[in-house]
Assembly symmetry: C2
Homo-oligomer: 258 residues x 2
């Protein structure tokens, strides 16, 4: 690539989150950066899009870096759509999302605003990567993530990605010297066991907080959960063709047209 790649940067924790600020800093060393990110946290938004209300976009300056930045009232998926159709003058060469404050491994990919932004870009035909660090705190230390993010990003630009595939990258929250390397993995079979916290409002009305415990049901050593537990950076190639091809034949045996 002779000219600098155009990189669209998105996240779901909001445009001022330390995670996206780190990602912008890294991407500024690789390409020309345009940021379109939510004006407030959007964690757990999954692949939500705004169909029943209006969207606002505002050009903002948050630090003195060379990137252009836009703050958007919508979801991460909205940010990709607006970024690609309204803000950028050409299709970006890459879309990176994150760095998420907290894991998006295994089944979390389904609930993740970070990954939905990457998937939305993938649907648009843009090579895309979601990055997450296994530390939910706002003051998470992203320093040790930088070399891995740089390596995975430059390789993605050099090699491209297969049509219909985006990358879900998770980074363990341990010192850099303890990280053993990078592993390409499958998504572990896991779920959340919800324990709702039921309370009563001052007006006497019951309400709930969603809380829960993550449960890994998968003993495989080729999963993202295994890699992360053993201090590897995990990469899961993620597709948005959700067809369970192996089940088509089976359901055809039901003879639904008899």
């Amino acid at each position: 690539m002779s000219k600098k790649p155009l990189i669209l940067v998105i996240n779901d924790d909001g445009i001022t989150a330390p995670g996206i600020r780190t990602l912008i800093k890294i991407m500024n060393t690789i390409g020309e950066v345009v940021v379109v990110a939510p004006d407030s946290p959007q964690s757990g938004m999954g692949h939500a899009i705004t169909v029943d209300s209006t969207l606002y976009v505002e050009k903002v300056t948050i630090d003195n870096g060379p990137q252009k930045e836009y703050s958007c009232s919508g979801t991460p998926a909205d940010c990709v759509k607006l970024g690609v159709r309204e803000i950028l003058k050409r299709k970006p060469d890459l879309c990176v999302s994150g760095i998420n404050h907290g894991s998006n491994s295994s089944i979390n990919v389904i609930y993740s605003g970070t990954m939905s932004a990457a998937i939305e870009a993938g649907i648009e035909g843009i090579p895309a990567i979601g990055f997450s660090l296994l530390d939910y705190s706002w003051s998470a230390n992203f320093e040790h993530s930088e070399s891995f993010i740089r390596k995975i990003t430059t390789n993605t630009i050099a090699h491209g990605l297969p049509q219909g595939v985006v990358l879900n990258v998770n980074i363990p929250n341990v010192p850099q010297k303890d990280i053993k390397g990078i592993r390409v993995c499958r998504q572990a079979r896991a779920n959340w066991v919800e324990q709702f916290d039921k309370r009563q409002s001052p007006m006497g009305k019951d309400y709930y907080w969603l809380a829960g415990k993550f449960e890994n049901l998968d003993q495989g050593e080729d999963t993202d959960e295994w890699a992360l537990e053993h201090n590897y950076v995990s990469i899961v190639p993620v597709q948005f063709d959700l067809t369970a091809y192996q089940s088509i034949k089976q359901i055809n045996t039901w003879n639904l047209n008899d």
Copy 2:
């Protein structure tokens, strides 16, 4: 199954939508029905969950049917979680979602609150089906859907579904006599080409409406789009293991650990 199956009914158009009222009526003839549905429309919510605010649930009576009904302030995925953990006394035998007012074929599965409810149930290990009619209007005619929904539901109860698979059923909006049958399909490769509608508020601030045109990029005759265009009811078996297995080997050739 000796006793009546316990069926959890959800949707994303809200508990009073004609689509879910039709679905409840059908399910009442098949099993014991508990409804947990959003108190307001949640279209386009994808797999959003409520992590940063509280959830309200209220027992309601909307018609004189035998079902129990609960209206919930959360998203479709929240409704499943609350239904399974807090409202039902045992794990339901089936979860059905819909009938959605409008298509959830092809890439729409990604944005669909209807399908995210079915997928959430699938993650919980409950056989689940999302039903959608290809008519966005509130006054859509669901009458011709009934026999197909009944047939697919009773077959799902009789045969079960493979672990990790839920069904995405779409029904053409044509008279019953014109429907040619049921086809098990793959998800068509398609996307939305957004055309944002930019306007200015009375206060002079720019804002956008998300609008767009659906584009089917897939010529295959084994897709849901093909089936629906040819007046078949489409069933796509949908999985939530998003791993693009065929890409793992390819990305390993990048030698990211060198």
